[in-house]
Symmetry: D2
Subunit: 340 residues, 4 copies
């Protein structure tokens, strides 16, 4: 009954097997090994982006912050949702890596930027000449921090607003696999075809030990990205061990299978909560749930062995955040609902 | 015959076994797991520093740059050897993390700072009031980039010069295990007892997939370090997988055994080179050799399957850099010497 | 009829006279001259802060950004009003000088932070451990960008909220003289006695060519400030020419006389507008007015020679911003009202 | 007998007169006034660069650091003389403004980069791929810190080495007028025609209160420069007062007349020193002298009222640095020599 985060679960056995297989003999360092090349090739195929530049890093914060820094100048504004991971959960990494860009918060229900709010923010930034920060880029998140998703059309609509101002678009896809499963869209339809210029493609929350890929659809930014990555201490010498995990996840469509399991378990949990009359703070599109239950419930569940985080709730209710993963089983869900 | 770098070798089987063992069930993220606590405890024991703050990161560049940033202000000078890793091989990571501190290069034969040169640099920096950068900190490297070591007394002598100016001391110990083996000194004698305030304790070059520890002997810097680490994208969520490797390396003295094998193979190689009348650019204290041989030799060796990097050499000679690792065998050495 | 800004007016003749007087013979550079010492002494007297550190700079943006950087770490949050100058009119200077601190916008009517809003922001920042930015400092503005003022009691109330969280307080006093005149409070009551730790004391908008003073009530920050100022290119070599202006402004209470004239002319203008039934967006506490008049009025006034900026207005009205200065005369006001 | 620095002298009366004349009525802020336009136009004429972008700032450090930041990325190396002002006298401003670029010191006698040393540094930087900093730009100084000058041909030779590596060239011209007088070259021949891309055109050391111009010969960098200047707090609101000084200096060739007086007085002083058998550390090309005299001489001269700084000297001698300015008279020189 571990619903604290998708990063508390163990890794699928295929990941361990891949590491063991990769640990055979000598390999060139810093990404010049065959496994890194293979991971690059597979990501290009998955995203239908044969020209894309692909680089591996160990954390999602690094993937996001390096992506932003490569596309947004220090005097630029990054438009993101008020509760985006880059806004709330990275201790200012975007500001550090960009040398001081300003995050402009855009509202919208359920973790999704409202197009009108983005349009308003875009219209009202950079209008005072040299005195204010300039429009820099737009950063979306899919799956959002509220556990909801953007469809391909919704992504395109937001990206189109960005493009109308000449801005590049970043997508924080720490849970991108879950978004692909949830929307049924192709990976390409949610990214390059929608107008995304740079993608943080998550592996860690989907089952890897700590591997994310940055996919840059504008290849001319590749070398700058490499320099920024090295300079930030995010170029690993033994790249094969990151790449092996990424390859294992992409092979045989495992990345979608793992995400599908997480999403399915969340849906099952949502169903059980609904059956018990428990309302949710946000729609359950993917693998995160925000139940609002009777005060005291959280303590009771924890006493029964459940693990999860508190979350805000309306007056008179108690809020929690539940996250499922590839490792969540029907038994876990059943046990949790029983304890409830 | 792989002598290109100690980061091209595979990992010892114990590392893989430790990862597999760690992959059992759920664990709290961001370092709040038992394995991370165990790694911390073991490092404190190894270094005889029960109060030390310990944090894991994935790369040596991150370990170094975060260490410098936590102790040196943006207007400070970092005194380091001209050929230190932080000066030549990190693409300006120290400048990035410190927000623009200045590296002051200190000379000295065989990769070792000459005490007189350090004293001179310390005396001539920060003497023009507000107009020049201020003295910030001293950064040593042991094993040096030239493959030589500092004894405990030599470390103490340099650190004493720093302390006389009120400066903290950093030790880049990417190959610290090799230095401990080579000097026969205790880990404590080479660090806190010598005056080192913060240590980059290497794991990657000694056999791990990508794990370094930063050991801060001045515990009041701990929280600032944590914020800087998070902000730099170097706080990993699934810390157990870093910690498991570190624990495996420290258990049963493996870290010293692995380094001892690397050092022994380097000594064997040095002996063979000497027997063939091949001179070396630097003394072989640890696991790196810089032979100067007849022009054409490198091509011949590579044709025979040897891997290594070129290095500078005197007029009329050809230079190479050979690095041994835990994985180097006597057969590797014999094969290389035979090809020679 | 020049109401565009208090920085478009000429300087009072005393300023020119002071420069001419200062231009006599040789003087030591970088602030080691007698006039700079005199300016420091006078500011300490004016602010009743005999221990304060005082430094001159040429622009308000420099004064603000250097003040913030000296008190707030890169991972800190600066709490300021949504429409503060540091938030909207400095092109990210605070982020540049602090190396990426985050401005947290606090709402409140008429340009004034609402205490409840500040309390809420303080309570909701820095509560997620290492994952989010930490509470850094509070920055107030008096006179606010809306032309309103904080009384000594209001300043104290906000500073008290900051102090309760252990935070230092900055006051952007680009129009501090106008605030002193408007509130009738002593300079000390609006600053150190209220809990302000560092003050940007404005000279430029009050009639100088380009001189601001940073007054640091916590003397131990003085040296760091000096290093930051030099490093930012804001240590001027011929400091006597800045100091001479500051001294001329402070002598004989001219700084308050000039501000009083500006405030009085604004009051006169406000009276005239009220008499004509024109409403104002904000109370006219000092020297800035935000009239909302009939559409078309602005064009008509400009055709008559008036200069001013547009400003937002409610549906069906037209907004303008009028700023008076030491140089505004009753004739200017009368002329403007006549054109109206 | 004030030879401490050219920034301790008063300003020529024309500067005061120009300020008084500029102080007439209202003027638009932030450089949108006619005087700023006039200064721009005059600098373009002087430099024979009709397309150049011109911006005024208050200090030489700001001019230099903003110039570097606009042309060199954070991971770039700035090649400059070991004793350049940017290397020794700006407390790391270049590193601050560039977000951490690395200054690579290039040697050469008498403050002048030796072409061979620059070629060597250029050849040995940026050759290790992503691991080391990249070649960024070259920064020359004319008049150098040693008081020597580069001829147009020497400037061209160094700039040609930079261009061969695709690098932009900065010229720190804090004493550019003195260099023009000393070389007899046209301003254009020492800058754009020689390959200089951005020039810090000094006014302060030549007699202004605190005004420098940045002249960017590559106009596409203009907007970025403006954003960086604003963000650094170096956009002054009352630009007319900077511009008035610059115009006064450029009108009627005064800038060269003032510099010619300074140079002539230095030559006279050099002659007098030579007649007394006092050797000099560097050739006296412009307005700075480095005499090496008998120990005890400095104290004696100071007792007689002379002001100057100490400087290094060979064993057994005592060193001093003497700087002349527009205000130095023949009587000053005669008095100094008499005291000697």
């Amino acid at each position: 009954m571990f619903f604290a985060s998708d990063n508390t679960a163990p890794c699928p056995p295929e990941v361990l097997a891949a590491l063991a297989a990769a640990n055979d003999g000598y390999a060139r360092g810093y990404g010049a090994d065959p496994l890194t090349a293979r991971a690059t090739e597979m990501l290009r195929e998955v995203l239908n982006a044969p020209q894309a530049v692909v680089h591996l890093v160990a954390t999602g914060t690094a993937a996001n912050a390096l992506s932003l820094a490569s596309f947004c100048p220090p005097w630029g504004a990054v438009f993101c949702h008020t509760h985006a991971h880059i806004a709330e959960d990275e201790c200012g990494a975007p500001e550090f890596f960009t040398h001081g860009a300003k995050l402009v918060h855009v509202g919208g229900a359920h973790g999704r930027m409202a197009p009108a709010a983005l349009a308003h923010a875009l219209a009202n930034t950079g209008e005072s000449g040299v005195h204010g920060v300039q429009r820099g880029m737009v950063s979306l998140t899919n799956v959002t921090e509220a556990g909801t998703v953007y469809s391909a059309a919704e992504t395109t609509a937001l990206a189109t607003l960005a493009k109308a101002k000449g801005l590049p678009v970043h997508l924080d896809g720490a849970r991108f696999a879950n978004a692909v499963v949830a929307t049924g869209a192709t990976p390409a339809a949610l990214t390059a075809q929608a107008g995304v210029d740079v993608l943080s493609f998550g592996g860690t929350k989907n089952g890897l030990m700590g591997v994310e890929a940055v996919v840059i659809f504008a290849p001319d930014k590749g070398w700058e990205f490499e320099l920024r990555r090295k300079r930030a201490g995010h170029l690993v010498s033994k790249s094969r061990y990151l790449a092996a995990q990424m390859v294992a996840m992409l092979e045989q469509g495992r990345w979608l299978a793992w995400a599908a399991q997480a999403n399915a378990m969340a849906a099952l949990l949502a169903e059980g909560l609904a059956a018990r009359g428990i309302s949710l703070g946000h729609p359950v599109d993917a693998n995160i749930l925000f139940p609002h239950w009777e005060p005291g419930t959280s303590a009771r569940l924890r006493a029964a062995g459940a693990q999860f985080y508190d979350a805000p709730a309306p007056e008179g209710r108690e809020g929690a955040r539940l996250v499922t993963s590839w490792a969540t089983t029907e038994a876990d869900v059943a046990g949790f609902l029983a304890a409830l």
